[in-house]
């Protein structure tokens, strides 16, 4: 009743009424402000707690629980970018791509320049094998805004894009991206090495070899680069170069069987190549003769394994299969070689080697890839312009 009485007194004067109301507003405002502040702090704390629980759940493989906790964290701190992104990633990683995409798109609408969001969207698009969107979002990520360690994040996104494109079978786009990436790359052996390896995967051995060489300029003893350069050179048919790098790689890492095998093959190729520089006269003829004999033996072995009778083929006029035909050619060539014992013309040398190459290719087709000297001859046959001289 007292308050009513007081108010009755003051209501006669509007200025007093308004002053009283203003004071009341200020007092209540301050009280509510304290309440809201406390409420907000509690909400943020709950958000952090739920986020931590969500991360723990995700780490222990409880994805559904983790997602629910991420959602709860977001309900307490709806604008928290980290929570939103984590939820979207969790949704994506658990295969709930539609939900993840919706969340990411919502984030993207708020900050379309955000690198992390674009990267997540790019991964999602890649998962759904949408090449255009993949390229679009990854490009956004590469040229977007990153909060910390931006250069590194951009490069990682770029590397990831190339790998994703390779997985999607888009080798042309991957190669284009990789060439651009290589041009932008700072001179760091680890990055050059990654680029070189990706070039190898495409495969683009020319660029791969160039990148490995750049690595070796910075780090001469880099075994991975030596091996990679050797392999790239080998794949390009540049056996002398391959031999050079592979020898260094083998010295640095004798346990690398792959490198050792390639080195051996390179050596054999180089030794078997009759057209190698500085190989003249009897030495060249010797290599041609040896190649001819090796080819003949390979033909015999292959025919035997396939059950083809080469001897009867030479005595009959019936239609022959490829191996029989090659054998016949081989016998004819041998006769000509015997007749021209004193000197083979260049033309004849080419004829012999052509026959050897045909034998190697045919037997590889019918009896599987050869090994040893035959492998070397087959490699030579696949390089019509000759191996690295």
């Amino acid at each position: 009743m007292a308050s009513r009485f007081n108010l009755k007194l003051i209501t006669d004067n509007p200025a007093v009424v308004l002053a009283t109301l203003t004071i009341m507003v200020v007092v209540i405002f301050l009280l509510v402000n304290r309440l809201v502040k406390r409420f907000s702090e509690e909400q943020l704390a709950l958000g952090r707690k739920m986020y931590a629980e969500a991360q723990a759940a995700m780490a222990s493989g409880k994805a559904d629980r983790g997602i629910e906790d991420f959602r709860a964290a977001l309900s307490y701190d709806p604008d928290n970018y980290q929570y939103q992104l984590s939820l979207a990633r969790a949704l994506r990683d658990t295969g709930r791509t539609a939900e993840a995409e919706a969340y990411l798109l919502s984030l993207w609408e708020h900050s379309p320049q955000d690198g992390a969001v674009n990267l997540a969207l790019g991964r999602l698009a890649a998962r759904e094998r949408q090449l255009d969107k993949t390229l679009q979002y990854y490009h956004n990520a590469i040229y977007g805004v990153w909060t910390s360690n931006a250069d590194n994040d951009r490069l990682n996104a770029w590397f990831e894009l190339v790998q994703v494109l390779l997985q999607l079978g888009a080798k042309q786009q991957a190669e284009a991206e990789l060439i651009s990436l290589a041009a932008e790359l700072p001179h760091r052996p680890d990055l050059e090495l990654r680029v070189a390896e990706l070039f190898t995967q495409i495969p683009d051995f020319d660029h791969a070899l160039a990148e490995y060489r750049r690595v070796l300029q910075l780090d001469r003893g880099n075994v991975t680069a030596l091996t990679g350069a050797g392999e790239a050179a080998f794949s390009l048919g540049r056996y002398r170069t391959a031999d050079h790098y592979l020898q260094s790689a083998a010295k640095a890492n004798p346990r690398d069987k792959q490198a050792a095998h390639l080195l051996e093959t390179s050596n054999m190729v180089l030794l078997a190549d009759p057209y190698a520089p500085q190989i003249y006269g009897q030495k060249r003829l010797g290599r041609i003769r040896a190649a001819f004999e090796i080819g003949g033996e390979r033909l015999q072995a292959c025919a035997q394994s396939k059950g083809v009778d080469l001897k009867s083929a030479s005595t009959t006029t019936e239609p022959q299969n490829d191996l029989q035909s090659l054998h016949q050619s081989w016998l004819d060539q041998k006769r000509r070689m015997t007749r021209g014992r004193n000197g083979w013309t260049d033309e004849m040398q080419d004829q012999i080697m052509n026959l050897v190459f045909r034998i190697e290719q045919q037997t590889a087709q019918e009896c599987g890839p050869p090994i040893g000297a035959n492998q070397a001859l087959l490699i030579l046959s696949q390089n019509p312009n000759g191996v690295e001289r």
Binding site: L21, I28, V36, E68, A72, P78, A98, E99, L105, E109
Partner: protein
């Protein structure tokens, strides 16, 4: 304004008055008592009443905003305290907490705050029309506590309607303490209601429209300014403390292809049917629940709480509470369309039980929830069959909210503006109007009585139905107007000539067109008496009184004529373009005859 605003109008439009005629003053001062007058005379020296009232509206808005901020905090704290920070399906607390807290709520409602049952909208209307704007502060306190507990612990109810009532109660308390007149006190309730609703909904335009559409029932110039001021003040306070972000985030929504209107029309149909089911379920169950023995009233909220808890426990905790967070998720494609449809159905079920059990809480949020889920589901179905549709889930969810607002709450105008205000995007206006109109028509056809009117009738109150008021046809002067008795006399004519002219006429009273303007009447007997006195050569103007008759225009409401037809036998009805041009006359017999005719034609007026 062509007609009176009824109980709420502070300004009454007057018909045109001829010079010298008096009409009753229609401003608020004339209705104040002696004490009030004294007070206002002193106030007027420094502060005019209307300005004072407007300033008070701002204070009402601020206080309501502060109360609603606290109310929202209370709901959150109640929820966290009882259900934990992240309630999820298969959590035992979902089963146990709602019924236990509901028992407590029932005890509080029955023994401490018996007036806090229900949503609060009808109670505010009752305060306006029955209790002269009186809403006890105790009701606001009770509503605050019980609604916060109910909504926080999972009852499928919303905070908007209670906020509306809390705002109205605060306004009522302030008005009473200021010792305003009865008329002003009546005005304060909707002002506070708009403030409370605006703060709860973070949408001042929708709140103002809803209060006008559903609580006041008609546009009233005398109150509109105050309602707007209070609503904006409360929203400013709310945003000051809780930020300007809406209750749910809305992704960009677009409407590109007109062909998509077919899908929105389907949403209107689905929403209209859902609204009818929702309203009929409440209309059917509520009186039956209320008719149960008194002891059972303690357990009804608990039963409803258990039903809601079971739904949450079994896998749909989304239906618990107001559900704004889940509306947000629905709009961000976080649910499949099948699950959205299930959620819409479960929400109707849960809200029906929560509401009919007498648990305090509102129906705005549940209606929006059902609409959003239904919209999302319709989008899913439409997109399944027509993948080329460009509309997003958010677009349909948003329109769905408007659809339920129009169909269930039967506030079509608010429904349209709410969607526009909440989305901040006017491109959706066509689909919203199409879908809302369809839902409204379906709802009106299948559920004649709007939900709020149904509830008031179940409570034994006879409050004016806003929908009926909106649609009633008003009789106008032209409906009862009759041809004037001929001849029409001129004030410049000599009495002798006039007597000759009226000789053929059977009428006893004649209209006289005065110079330069105005109308008056003269009787045959009066003229004969003057002629008998030898004044036949005098002009009419020299013998007629200077006062003029009041006149009406054909478009005036017929009730306006009632003020004059008992003062003068014939009231001229003149053209608005030319006051000397007589359209007809109106008499008391003609007015009564027209009203009698209306009573015999059901449906008219």
């Amino acid at each position: 304004m062509s007609q009176s605003g009824g109980a709420l109008s502070g300004v009454t439009s007057s018909p045109g008055l001829a010079p010298g005629t008096s009409a009753r003053a229609s401003n608020g001062d004339a209705r104040l008592g002696t004490d009030d007058k004294k007070r206002w005379y002193s106030l007027k020296s420094s502060f005019r009443e209307e300005q004072y009232f407007l300033v008070l509206s701002v204070f009402i808005g601020i206080f309501s905003g502060l109360a609603v901020v606290c109310f929202r905090l209370a709901i959150e704290w109640a929820g966290i305290g009882v259900l934990g920070p992240a309630p999820q399906a298969h959590d035992w607390r979902l089963l146990v907490a709602p019924p236990l807290v509901s028992l407590l709520i029932a005890v509080i409602v029955i023994h401490v705050f018996p007036l806090v049952r229900g949503s609060g909208v009808n109670q505010t209307k009752a305060a306006l029309y029955i209790f002269n704007g009186y809403i006890p502060f105790r009701t606001a306190v009770g509503k605050f506590i019980t609604s916060a507990l109910a909504i926080g612990t999972g009852h499928s109810l919303g905070p908007e309607d209670p906020s509306l009532q809390i705002g109205a109660s605060i306004a009522s308390v302030l008005g009473r303490r200021m010792e305003f007149s009865r008329e002003k006190l009546r005005l304060l309730a909707p002002i506070g209601a708009a403030a409370g609703l605006a703060a709860a909904f973070n949408a001042p335009i929708s709140a103002v429209l809803f209060v006008i559409e559903e609580v006041i029932g008609r546009w009233s110039a005398g109150i509109l300014g105050s309602v707007v001021l209070s609503a904006i003040s409360s929203v400013v306070v709310m945003r000051w403390f809780l930020g300007s972000q809406p209750l749910f985030r809305i992704p960009p929504v677009t409407f590109v292809r007109p062909s998509e209107l077919i899908a929105y029309a389907a949403l209107g149909i689905a929403g209209g049917l859902a609204a009818v089911i929702f309203a009929k379920a409440i209309g059917y169950l509520r009186p039956r629940f209320r008719a149960m023995p008194r002891w059972s009233q303690y357990f009804l909220p608990a039963t409803a709480g258990l039903i809601v808890g079971v739904i949450g426990y079994l896998g749909a905790p989304q239906v618990m509470g107001a559900g704004y967070g889940y509306m947000d998720e629905a709009m961000h494609d976080q649910f499949t369309w099948q699950f959205l449809a299930i959620l819409a159905g479960l929400k109707i079920l849960a809200t029906t039980f929560s509401f009919v059990s007498g648990t305090p809480g509102g129906m705005f949020a549940p209606a929006l929830f059902v609409g959003a889920m239904l919209g999302g589901a319709v989008h899913g179905v439409a997109h399944h069959f027509y993948p080329h549709l460009l509309g997003t889930t958010a677009s349909y969810a948003l329109v769905g909210m408007g659809v339920l607002f129009a169909g269930f709450l039967r506030a079509p105008m608010t429904s349209v503006f709410m969607v526009l205000e909440v989305s901040g995007n006017y491109s959706m206006i066509v689909p919203v109007i199409v879908a809302d109109a369809i839902a409204y028509i379906i709802s009106r056809s299948l559920q004649r009585v709007p939900i709020f009117d149904l509830l008031t009738r179940q409570d034994g109150l006879d409050l004016p139905s806003m929908e009926e008021q909106r649609e009633e046809s008003v009789l106008h002067v032209e409906d009862a107007m009759q041809p004037p008795p001929l001849p029409i006399l001129s004030s410049e004519e000599p009495i002798k000539e006039v007597l000759e002219r009226i000789q053929q006429s059977t009428a006893s009273t004649f209209l006289v067109r005065c110079t330069p303007s105005g109308w008056t009447t003269v009787t045959r007997d009066f003229l004969k008496r003057l002629a008998g006195e030898g004044k036949g050569e005098l002009s009419l103007s020299s013998v007629l009184p200077a006062s003029r008759l009041p006149y009406l225009h054909p478009d005036y409401a017929l009730e306006m004529a009632l003020r004059y037809v008992y003062q003068v036998p014939l009231v001229p009805v003149v053209s608005r373009a030319d006051y000397r041009k007589l359209e007809g006359v109106i008499s008391s017999e003609a007015v009564l005859s027209r009203y009698r005719m209306t009573e015999n034609v059901p449906g008219e007026a």
